[in-house]
Amino acid sequence: MTENLKRLLDFVQSGQNKGQRRELSPERFAQLQEAIVQAGPSLSLRAARRLSLFLAEETTQALPFERIVGRRSLTVFPDIYLPGEREALQSGHYVHEQGRVCNISSDWGAVLREGLWPRRERALQTLRENGQADADFLRAAVETIDAVTAFCDRWADALHQSGQAEAGKGLRLAVRCGAQSFRDALQLFRLLHFCLWASNVYHNTVGRFDQYMLPFLQADLACGLLDEDAAQDLLEEFFLSFNRDSDLYQGMQQGDNGQSLMLGGCDADGACAVNQLTAMCLKASLHLGQIDPKINLRVDKNTPLSLYELGAQLTRQGLGFPQYANDDVVIPGLVRLGYALEDARNFTVAACWEFIIPGVAMDIPNIAAMPLAGVVDGCIRRCLAGCQRFEDLLQDVREAIFQKADELLAPLSPLFLEPAPFQSVLMDGCLERGQDISKGAKYNNYGVHGTGFSQAVDQLLAVKALVFEGDLTPERLLRGMETAFADDAELLYTLRNKAPKLGRDEEALPLADELLGYFADSLRGRTNERGGCFRPGTGSAMYYLWHADELGALADGRLPGEPLAANFSPSLALKDAGPLSVLRAFARPKVLDTINGGPLTLELHDTVFRGEEGLTKVAMLVKGFIDLGGHQLQLNTVNHETLLDAQAHPERHENLIVRVWGWSGRFVLLDKAYQDQIIARTAYGL
């Protein structure tokens, strides 16, 4: 690591970046709020005015040792609504999360290539030629482009003042007409990404970075402007810049900020697109050891072991990534959902693991969650006593899932999404259509998580084996569940230890596919108000805790208060099963129909990585899972004892990083419930 990089790393780690922030005075805040609203009643125009004022108010001062500039100075900025206005506008609507555009991926390739001026021209052209277009939106788009250009110019001045006049010139040109070099492309990305955050959209993903940045790198290497070492340094400095302001970008917990980056995969024709930059990015993340950007890696059955080994080096570092996605499953799965093949081949991930298409999709991949464990529990409580055969219970489960889907989907329209003119500028086609991205795009599909999957399967397995194939009476089981097995320790023991479980026992596999099938069928053929489909998935997000709170004792012996597994992972009570059994069990062919995203999460003890041999074996393990048809995998390197110690003595483990559900965060900053779940899941397997 170069001296410069060390200073930049220290600048972030020691919190000096925060020291340069400021808050607006109450008077200035009120003035700005007034100025935003003066833009008129149109939310688009107000959003544009807000961004414009925000950027003008920002301080632009380059550090003497930084080459990639852009750092937040303002912590809070006024919103676009008058008091009470937001509530009134949202009333009668479905408000997803903050009611803002989020979790999508910009058309970074085209924007970096052509800059903002052609887009400005397009907006004006549509305004002139298309009477149907949303004129306020187009004016707002132009205003954001002008504001962002002016902002970039100010940073260009700052670069000039810090003795980097060439870089300043490059930035001025890049924002207008596209980047001419690798450095300019990185710098432009940095500031555009900054402006996205400033424009109040969030979970701003990075997309397929090694694809759209490669041409800039190749050109510089070819003409001798950069050599590989210099390019690597620059890349690392750029990666580091994601961590400057990330503490301001908090989702459910600190660290949940959606700065996810995708590497590898194939091109539009399906040919392998792994390139020089793929490995450089993996190395950069390895060198820096920072939470952001969060690395994802697309792989398939032809991916060589060497790439997995690079990935395993990163896993060894303990940041909880890379997260692997299998092209052989994801692409056909997306095509089944109606995505064009070339778009499916271009998939990236949203903030966590949901598969989305850059530039052309306004998918909301986490709009609802199907509480699978809860639905099965409800059926067992309601119907078990009346079921003659196990198949009768399954039929009830199927019907209950369909019914739950009705309930989940009913309130989702009409959707309220705040206009996002600047995000629209960075997408493909919004300016031509004269329509804000919040109103929709080529793809407008909604994703539905499936929570508590493994425990849904385990409950059914226990009932099948012990009630329908054994001598356990429904009465005894239900009584036990009602009382949390207070008077029936023997039954509790049997359910937890003797009943079959997914991740260990063969009989679980067909049932797992069956249940995934019900979930897929329950959403198939339904359309949302935008004409999009509903995509079932295997992720849980934070619902693994939320839904767990709603549950009593379950038929698989889970007791009240015990967490559910996160995402597509075995029950935390699973014993006598190791990584091979778990990986094989969760490489389910049926995930092709539940491809919204949601990985199998596997915890590896850090001793596995002792020596190079362990590294190669982890790579072989991941390759094995992908070759078996597993769709998505996320590995954690943890040490159970370290986590316990960190909970007891947070001051000793300030920089301990763990994967939470679709993102990595600093362990000591998480709420205790999340810490506890992570500690519990490290106990199985190794």
């Binding site: 023991y493 990584p579 059994s581 020596g611 041999e613 074996k617 094995g624």
Partner: protein
């Protein structure tokens, strides 16, 4: 036939090439002072109890059919404990059952390592299991203190052997493991001459066998074996005592655990052997 298995560990990273599962067989002829698998010593099923979290509610005692008598590991107390603190170590399994369980993961599995305890105390069970493993790469990790006939007939069926060499001096060997090393050296001699490829493993116990003399003598013992792949030095694990309380036993090492370990590969290198520290 049946064998007594006390653990099956998938993805055993340090016990042979490729993606492997390690099978732990119960029973051991040695009583090494530093043993970290005390539940593997006796060739009988044993009850384990996580005493640390026990609230002494008495439910397990009430469930016991022979209170006050030595435990027969009948398992009747296990379901009585609501906290799940009780378990049995050791399960008599048919070779076909074990092989079936291993082969379920055939798609990901490249090898099986038999360990323990001392796996070679159950030679017929091992041979039958190996014969059912569909040609998978098989190896044993052994202390070498088993009847030569058993040692040879099982090793002949294996692809590789991990052979422990603890102490070159027989007296010292007896002092720390309860047995002299004559039988071990006899088996080692055969292994060097006629056995499959093997790895020699030396657990480095501070002040017991990590002295220059013993390492030199060990290196000399291992010389002249064309099929010796390498020597692996395994520094003493300070968590060795972790599982003794499960058996209501105390871990009492007769050496100073905190003493620095002399993990020196030089004596082996001098004898032309490839050696590494794990």
């Amino acid at each position: 036939m049946k064998g007594l298995v006390f653990h099956v560990e998938e993805f055993a990273v340090f016990d042979g090439p490729g993606l492997r599962t390690a099978v732990f067989l119960k029973g051991c002829p040695l009583r090494c002072n530093w043993c970290h698998n005390p539940e593997g010593l006796e060739m009988r099923v044993q009850r384990l109890k996580n005493a640390e979290r026990c609230t002494h509610c008495g439910a397990c005692v009430r469930a016991c059919p022979n209170p006050g008598q030595p435990c027969t590991a009948c398992g009747r107390c296990l379901p009585a404990c609501r906290q799940g603190l009780l378990s049995l170590s050791g399960e008599w399994m048919e070779a076909s059952e074990l092989a079936g369980r291993l082969l379920r993961n055939r798609a990901l599995l490249q090898g099986v390592s038999f360990t323990g305890g001392e796996a070679l105390l159950q030679p017929d069970f091992m041979l039958e299991t190996i014969s059912l493993l569909d040609g998978l790469h098989c190896l044993v990790e052994t202390c070498g203190h088993v009847p030569s006939r058993d040692f040879r007939r099982v090793c002949a069926a294996l692809d590789m052997v991990y052979f422990d060499v603890k102490l070159a001096d027989s007296q010292q060997h007896r002092r720390y493991t309860g047995q002299g090393n004559e039988l071990i050296l006899e088996n080692l001699a055969w292994l060097k001459r006629e056995g499959p490829p093997f790895v020699a493993r030396v657990p480095l116990i501070p002040g017991v066998n990590d002295g220059a003399d013993n390492l030199e003598a060990t290196a000399a013992l291992l010389e002249g074996a064309p099929r010796l792949l390498r020597v692996e030095l395994l520094p003493y694990n300070k968590n060795a005592g972790a599982k003794y309380s499960l058996l209501s036993l105390a871990y009492r090492p007769s050496f100073d655990e905190s003493r620095p370990i002399n993990a020196d590969v030089a004596p082996f290198t001098r004898h032309g052997l490839e050696a590494r520290v794990l």
